[in-house]
Symmetry: C2
Subunit: 214 residues, 2 copies
């Protein structure tokens, strides 16, 4: 038996986060041998997602001061957390201790707000791509963007692809493929509307109106 690398993955939970953003990568990252996952929120206890689902955070931010990996999910209101100095300071502090800092969807806006993506290429949900510029990051419309130790994924479901890629980096291609087979990730979307590049024009227009994209 190979020796197991012990690692701590801190996932930041906050009100109106999008659950799939972190559940996708967590489903595979948490199964890496030796991985301890800490669910961290401003205040520990149940955190209510944008769909009403409640996930329990087992740590408050003042109880976690370091991690090997930091994962920030997106949500329909990441902005309130971006305006919260205690949260932004915690993100900055943990990042000084991590080997990898990763985000899904608008989670990268929180990283950017903390000044961590300045001058770096990064991605986020397609509808908020322009906002990365405000914090000095270089927006890329890609499924996943790697820059140094930072890995940012596009909207919501992109976290699954990112989670598998990160699993391969942390372990090896065989283990990542084992995880892909475990979650039977052989996608067969019933439509081809998952990206602004492929969605029918009227769906994209509807989405821009719904999400308030200029």
């Amino acid at each position: 038996m190979d020796s197991v690398t012990k690692r701590v993955l801190a996932i930041f939970l906050y009100p109106n986060m999008t659950t799939l953003d972190f559940v996708g990568p967590h489903e595979v990252l948490s199964r890496i041998p030796g991985m301890e996952v800490k669910k961290v929120a401003k205040v520990k206890g149940p955190v209510t997602a944008d769909t009403g689902l409640q996930i329990v955070a087992d740590y408050s931010i003042d109880e976690v001061s370091e991690a090997d990996l930091l994962l920030i999910p997106g949500g329909t209101d990441t902005f309130t957390s971006m305006e919260d100095k205690a949260v932004v300071d915690w993100v900055k502090k943990i990042d000084t201790t991590t080997g990898r800092t990763v985000s899904v969807c608008t989670g990268s806006l929180l990283l950017a707000k903390a000044g961590l993506l300045e001058g770096r290429p990064a991605t986020t949900h397609w509808a908020t791509l322009d906002m990365l510029k405000e914090f000095g990051a270089e927006p890329m419309q890609e499924r996943m963007v790697e820059s140094g130790k930072y890995l940012t994924a596009a909207g919501v479901s992109a976290g699954i692809d990112m989670g598998l890629a990160l699993t391969a980096q942390l372990t090896n291609d065989d283990f990542a493929q084992l995880m892909q087979l475990f979650i039977e990730y052989d996608p067969a979307p019933p439509f081809n509307a998952g990206s602004p590049k492929t969605a029918p024009a009227h769906i994209l227009e509807m989405a821009k109106t719904t999400f308030g994209v200029q």
Copy 2:
């Protein structure tokens, strides 16, 4: 403004469930206008998934006696719930009230145990496909199988595809595509190992050993 159809979606949560199984479809189904989601467990409160994630159930099974839709996720221990008469009886009872009863992954084994899939084609996680036969269902190695009001999806991530297909059935193709674009579901798996049909032979062998498949 069209009138909104009010519906209740009951999701059954149980120990060692796989979170992505229900979070995938929930992410889109819960955003259908008029949809009320009830997270139901044998006893309400936090339910611990197979990865350690805790999701709060807001209802106990004795508090929910009907639903328009019933969703049963899979998990690495669905068997304990299948042996729990109170749970199986509840599944049977709710099913008599639903318009659609759906499952992801090994969730279909619980439906089958409740006698609901007898003589019907159905699917489940690839590693447990043969078990469906024990309860009189006809196993199909498909991403999603529809039989009457029953919709069964393959392992874990297949719930996302099923959730979008079901959303289209409950609303229309435009709304389902809007949801696909919202969750930016334009999959780009870093490997092609998501199905026993595509996984490299040595990965499939490793998976069979890991999951105890004969």
